[in-house]
């Protein structure tokens, strides 16, 4: 399970960073989403990976760490709101600047 988790986080983060470096706003937004998924999974795994264990201390000696789950919940909420915000912002920028290039204008547009 550790290997699968590590590969998942790695692939998500790598794809996210690749997309963030693209020049159009839509891939950048997708990249941010993928990056935040990778980060959330990473944060989740920092409570150590456990199977079939309750997230509460007490009766059982075998339990999952509840704190990273709470942190991930916070991070998801913030990430969700920010994705919505950045989508609106990218749309507005695309309408106002008449281009969806991240710098507002495509430097190579004339060459095409």
């Amino acid at each position: 399970m550790e290997l699968l988790m590590a590969i998942t986080i790695g692939v998500l983060t790598a794809c996210g960073i690749y997309l963030i470096l693209r020049a159009r706003t839509f891939p950048v937004v997708l990249g941010l989403t993928l990056l935040s998924h990778g980060v959330n999974l990473f944060l989740f795994s920092m409570g150590r990976l456990t199977l079939a264990a309750p997230a509460v201390l007490g009766d059982s000696s075998h339990h999952a760490d509840p704190l990273p789950q709470a942190l991930v919940l916070t991070a998801i909420v913030i990430g969700f709101a920010m994705t919505a915000f950045v989508v609106v912002l990218a749309l507005r920028a695309a309408v106002e600047l008449r281009s969806d290039h991240v710098d507002g204008a495509d430097p190579d547009e004339d060459l095409r």
Binding site: I20, L32, V39, L43, L67, T74, V86, L89, G104
Partner: protein
């Protein structure tokens, strides 16, 4: 009053919530509410300052949950200094904005209050994840504030700013996750003890987390490779928002100081932490780039934005020495530079209003209707900024040079700070002569400057004089702030008094 540390967070939060509910209220009411909240914040911060001589740390447990499991708010002298500065700055910005800027976009006053929640929260919290949450709060409010008024330039600058800060937040979470994975705690005092006692095998992970945090705070503070968002965003923002943002780079610097002095610097001291070794060259490079930018800027707002970068470079270069004297001098310079750069953002707007289409660009195109009063004000402001006597710029710079004398850092620091001062002098002289001296012949009959706006800018420049007049008590205060900051063991002992379990798992006893 045990709840005192909570008030800087809860007052603007309640005010913002109230404003959200009555968003249709007349603007006059919103202005009064906003200013009342800021006045209360200033009062609370000063009240805390009067309580500090007896104890170095004021503590508050959120919801009564005890550390290390609950979130604890810790206020020391550094926090109080930042809280007072924030309240003063926000007061000036709100008065200035109330003369018309707050009409440009919806919910201006609500957003300012939310921004204050985030800024003040970052200054008082003693929990690393809570610091992240407050950072997010202040960032989300700043995204909306930056876009106030709309326009293509703001849209473009806003997009860069938002995307960059979202990436920064993602890495912040990664760093916190790493630290939690290694130490199993989020309370900064607890974490410090556990990191000090961490086995050597965990050290690479801790180092990775500390450098990630340096990068994250570097984005906020505008440290060299991560500062290119700043000029564009600050130039695009409306004047009172840009002035309020002058405190934001300082939030990044505060977070660096707090986290590295407490969490990573417990064992070997601040100056020996891995991140702090990177800070010296990066800060000097930031300073140099800022000075070049000041020379190259095309308008007064641009000059001011690069002045912010120069001040960040100077501050971090001094802080990277890590000694008590250097930190104290840097804190004094922080107060001075924040107020003065904010004043210049407002001043650029004031000048731009009288020059028609030319705004504040450094071209000889338009005549001004009030050239003499504004010119005199600019003259004094420039003197204060460059660091000539008798204003606070001179005192703070002199103190910085004094504390770096006879240290290995003296050569590079003196050379770059003095050179940057000289370059700023050239740039501001050039700006002054373009804006005021060489005026076209035609007479201007534009409206005179709004007296309140003029009063705000003059008031901020008077603060610079006040910093000199109150120099002695203020220097004592920053010295005490530096002393408590660089004694993390006292901070931990203070949190320990509330703790349900021995902090650090009793490892150090």
């Amino acid at each position: 009053m045990d709840t005192l540390p909570l008030l800087p967070v809860i007052i603007p939060l309640l005010c913002a919530a109230l404003m959200t509910f009555c968003y249709n209220a007349p603007l006059a009411l919103q202005r009064v509410m906003g200013m009342a909240s800021v006045a209360l914040l200033l009062g609370v911060a000063l009240l805390m300052a009067t309580q500090l001589p007896g104890q170095d740390h004021l503590l508050y447990m959120l919801g009564g949950w005890q550390p290390p499991f609950g979130i604890v708010l810790v206020v020391d002298r550094l926090s109080v200094l930042m809280l007072v500065l924030t309240a003063v700055l926000a007061g000036f910005c709100l008065v200035y904005a109330s003369r018309g800027h707050d009409r440009e976009g919806a919910h201006f006053h609500t957003l300012v209050q939310f921004q204050l929640v985030g800024i003040n929260g970052a200054f008082v919290t003693g929990d690393l994840f809570n610091l992240f949450v407050f950072f997010e709060l202040l960032l989300i409010a700043s995204y909306a504030l930056l876009l106030q008024g709309g326009g293509a330039a703001r849209g473009r600058a806003g997009l860069h700013y938002v995307v960059l800060n979202l990436i920064g937040s993602a890495f912040f979470v990664v760093a916190i996750g790493l630290l939690y994975g290694v130490t199993g705690t989020l309370n900064m005092a607890d974490m410090a003890l556990r990191i000090a006692a961490a086995p050597a095998a965990d050290q690479p992970l801790i180092n990775a987390a500390s450098l990630l945090l340096l990068a994250v705070f570097g984005v906020k503070a505008a440290l060299l490779p991560l500062l290119f968002w700043l000029p564009r965003a600050y130039i695009a923002a409306s004047a009172p928002v840009a002035a309020l943002f002058a405190i934001m780079t300082k939030v990044g610097i505060y977070a660096m100081l707090r986290v590295f002095a407490l969490v990573f610097g417990l064992q070997e001291g601040l100056a020996a932490t891995l991140a702090w070794q990177w800070l010296w060259p990066l800060a000097l490079a930031t300073l140099t780039l800022g000075a070049i930018g000041v020379l190259g800027a095309a308008n007064l707002r641009g000059i001011t934005a690069y002045l912010v970068i120069v001040s960040v470079g100077t501050l971090l270069a001094a802080l990277s020495l890590g000694s008590e004297a250097a930190v104290a001098a840097a804190l004094f310079y922080l107060v001075h530079s924040t107020l003065l750069t904010a004043a210049f953002f407002l001043f650029a707007d004031l000048i731009g209003r009288q020059r028609g289409e030319a705004l504040d660009s450094l071209r000889v195109t338009a005549a001004m209707s009030q050239r003499k009063p504004l010119g005199i004000l600019f003259f004094f402001g420039a003197i204060a900024l460059v660091g000539l006597p008798p204003f606070s710029g001179f005192v703070s710079k002199l103190w910085l040079l004094q504390v770096t004398a006879d240290t290995p850092a003296q050569g590079a620091f003196w050379l770059l700070v003095l050179l940057a001062g000289f370059i700023i002098l050239i740039a501001l002289s050039r700006a002054g002569s373009k804006l005021f001296w060489r005026q076209p012949e035609q007479s201007a009959d534009g409206p005179p400057a709004d007296p309140v706006r003029l009063g705000v800018v003059a008031g901020m420049l008077l603060c610079s004089v006040a910093l000199v007049l109150l120099g002695d008590p203020l220097m004592d205060f920053t010295e005490a702030a530096a002393r408590t900051l660089l004694a993390p063991a006292d901070y931990i002992a203070a949190v320990q008094t509330l703790a349900i379990d021995p902090l650090g798992g009793g490892l150090t006893e």
